[in-house]
């Protein structure tokens, strides 16, 4: 199926509130004025592509990629896997998925992270891959630790992995976070709470997936990602002079 029509407009009810006082940084970083809503055009319906040649063999293996395979990271070994689909339930093949995360103690390898949990000398904390022809992706990594952050008196982030996805057009660009089934910190987190639609928040919680875990090696968590789709009919009008 070719991508012909405009992108389906974003339903912002399905997304977080931009202004959310319990997440203090959002207060001065959220627009006051309404967004200008327009039908997508070529700038939104096209997007960058990334050839396989730029990727290294360990790019989607966070247990080994920081040490280039020399030594494994500390932590609970997990497979994070799933499919990238669009709103029309079609697979999004060959698209870039990037992730970043804290180590097993909840510390990021970032110059600005000064949390007292130690860095793991064998863990960098980022990975990337392209989806296959069925939109499927996978990462081998460790389960990140929860960590405290300066917000209200004593806020902690639930265990989470940050995810960036491109799709096939710049208007599909999305960054989100994956949470873990059963984490008691999720209902306490003001960032998770920015998503007011409860069933939408549930879609960010990855279930334990024993069928894809490997005995004596790793557990698996499944995380599907849905990007904006495109309207496709045989009745696209070419309106002149609009």
């Amino acid at each position: 199926m070719t991508d012909l029509g405009p992108l389906i407009p974003r339903n912002r009810e399905m997304h977080p509130e931009p202004y959310w006082p319990d997440y203090k940084t959002s207060v001065a970083r959220s627009p006051n004025q309404p967004l200008l809503s327009l039908e997508s055009g070529p700038s939104e319906e096209t997007g960058p592509t990334f050839g396989h040649s730029r990727f290294g063999a360990l790019d989607n293996n966070l247990i080994l990629n920081w040490t280039k395979g020399a030594a494994p990271a500390v932590g609970e070994r997990i497979l994070m896997h799933g499919r990238v689909l669009d709103e029309n339930n079609r697979a999004v093949p060959n698209t870039l998925v990037e992730i970043w995360q804290a180590n097993a103690g909840g510390r990021y390898r970032h110059k600005k992270d000064t949390y007292l949990a130690p860095l793991d000398p064998n863990f960098g904390g980022c990975g990337r891959t392209l989806t296959d022809e069925n939109g499927y992706y996978q990462f081998l990594t460790i389960r990140p630790g929860a960590y405290p952050w300066p917000n209200r008196g004593n806020d902690w982030r639930p265990m989470h992995i940050h995810i960036s996805v491109f799709g096939h057009s710049f208007g599909q660009r999305l960054i989100t976070q994956m949470y873990f089934e059963g984490d008691p910190l999720i209902p306490l987190c003001p960032i998770a709470a920015t998503i007011r639609n409860r069933s939408q928040l549930d879609r960010l919680v990855a279930p334990l997936d024993m069928a894809h875990s490997r005995r004596l090696d790793f557990l698996a968590y499944k995380f599907d990602i849905v990007l904006r789709g495109r309207r496709q009919t045989m009745f696209e009008n070419k309106l002149e002079g609009m």
């Binding site: 970083r29 627009p31 967004l35 809503s37 327009l38 070529p42 990021y108 992270d113 998503i195 960010l204």
Partner: protein, 199 residues
């Protein structure tokens, strides 16, 4: 009851957080060498057709403070108005760039070629522009906007002409500050707030 629609909603966004750079710009985050080739290092390579330009600016919050942690992606056509992947597009234009506010000054720099006019579905072309997507801690869903240029003919642009309050059009127009140099500031909130797009 009615038949269910064969449709599922988009996955909700979450903030990119303060450490977005380790995932998307490892060298900036202090982790140089993580990947052999990083994504979005430059939107152009040697031999790109057209005028090479440099755009500098800052991203300001509602208090007037320049964000030190903003990350921006840009996407644009080549100097003839063709997007990468389209027939006849300039092979030296990848069109995509990632750049970050400087951790000390908050200023970003985008070096690229000036894009050409882009046709719209409805006949009237878009004036030359670069699409931006801004993420940072405290931004819960990425903010879309565009850079237009003050030394181009922006009359009749299908997007700019939809902005009701005409003074706000200026928030999308880069000011020329020198030969091939422009300034484009982004104001997230309040006075002079940038027009952000739902597109």
């Amino acid at each position: 009851m009615v038949q269910p629609l064969d449709h599922q909603p988009e996955t909700p966004s979450q903030t990119a957080g303060p450490y977005v750079h380790i995932g998307l710009m490892p060298t900036y985050a202090g982790n140089a060498g993580y990947y052999d080739q990083e994504i979005g290092v430059s939107p152009i390579s040697d031999g790109a057709q057209g005028e090479v330009i440099e755009i500098v600016g800052s991203v300001y919050d509602g208090t007037g403070w320049a964000l030190r942690d903003a990350l921006i992606e840009s996407w644009q056509a080549d100097s003839a108005g063709k997007f990468p992947g389209q027939d006849g597009a300039d092979p030296a234009v990848s069109g995509h760039c990632r750049f970050a506010a400087d951790a000390v000054t908050g200023e970003f720099t985008l070096r690229t070629v000036k894009p050409g006019r882009v046709p719209s579905r409805y006949g009237r072309a878009f004036a030359p522009h670069i699409s931006l997507w801004v993420v940072a801690r405290g931004i819960n869903i990425g903010l879309q906007t565009r850079i237009y240029f003050e030394d181009e003919d922006n009359e009749g642009d299908p997007l700019l002409s939809r902005i009701e309050q005409r003074p706000r059009v200026d928030t999308l127009i880069a000011r020329k500050i020198g030969d091939g140099k422009y300034r484009f500031d982004i104001r997230l909130q309040g006075e002079g707030e940038t027009v952000f797009l739902d597109i």
